[in-house]
């Protein structure tokens, strides 16, 4: 059954070779740098995890592990509470 599937697939001619982009392996920068605690008092460091509107970037983009994503989210929310970071803004960077 699988054999003839492959046969049918191979008959399909692509105009140009299908380009699979080689994806850079994402890594958790906290594990790599050995950072254990995300400080909410330092906006510059936290801004790396926010987009232009000031929203927290999802893990799939930043590649951080769940444990540290929670710490980052907690730190960002504390910074927002203390008006160190804005809740919503435009063109923050």
């Amino acid at each position: 059954m699988a054999a003839n599937n492959n046969a049918q697939q191979s008959e399909i001619r692509y105009l140009n070779p299908v380009t699979v982009d080689v994806r850079k392996k994402k890594y958790c920068r906290f594990k790599k740098a050995g950072i254990k605690y995300v400080d909410y008092k330092d906006p510059e460091f936290l801004k790396k995890f926010l987009n232009e509107q000031g929203k927290i970037l999802p893990r799939r983009l930043t590649g951080t592990s769940q444990k540290f994503q929670k710490k980052v989210a907690q730190a960002v929310k504390r910074a927002r509470h203390l008006a160190i970071l804005p809740f919503v803004t435009d063109l923050m960077k």
């Binding site: 950072i35 254990k36 605690y37 400080d39 504390r78 008006a83 803004t89």
Partner: protein, 119 residues
């Protein structure tokens, strides 16, 4: 005896003497109720990311202390009663936070010029 870290923002319209007295008042609240202050910092007037009570700047204070859980409730009721304090945040430090704040304190105290790397 847990480690706590508390930051509060005072209205910028106060004079230096009033600010000092305000800071001393909360220092007293902690020491009277069996707490022990580990570190205290005044960050001075900083621009707020969004206006709080129609004000765009605020005077930030940081207090790190050890004490019982009940001490935090007392401290927070004092914060709520005092209308000069426009915002406050208190939380319990886990062991990584304690380690980080110590490192940060040594660095600030040491006044080393190299960049404060994020630990």
């Amino acid at each position: 005896m847990n480690n706590y870290e508390s930051v509060f923002i005072a209205t910028p319209v106060l004079s230096d003497q009033q600010l000092e007295e305000l800071f001393g008042k909360f220092r007293g609240v902690i020491t009277e109720n069996g707490g022990q202050i580990v570190n205290e910092e005044a960050w001075g007037v900083r621009k707020l990311a969004y206006p709080i009570q129609k004000k765009t700047t605020g005077y930030y204070f940081l207090l790190e202390f050890t004490g019982e859980g009940s001490l935090v409730d007392i401290l927070e009721t004092q914060y709520r009663r005092d209308e000069r304090v426009i915002r406050f945040l208190t939380f319990r430090q886990d062991k990584y936070a304690v380690e980080y704040s110590e490192k940060r304190r040594n660095k600030l105290a040491g006044k080393t010029t190299e960049k404060k790397e994020e630990e």
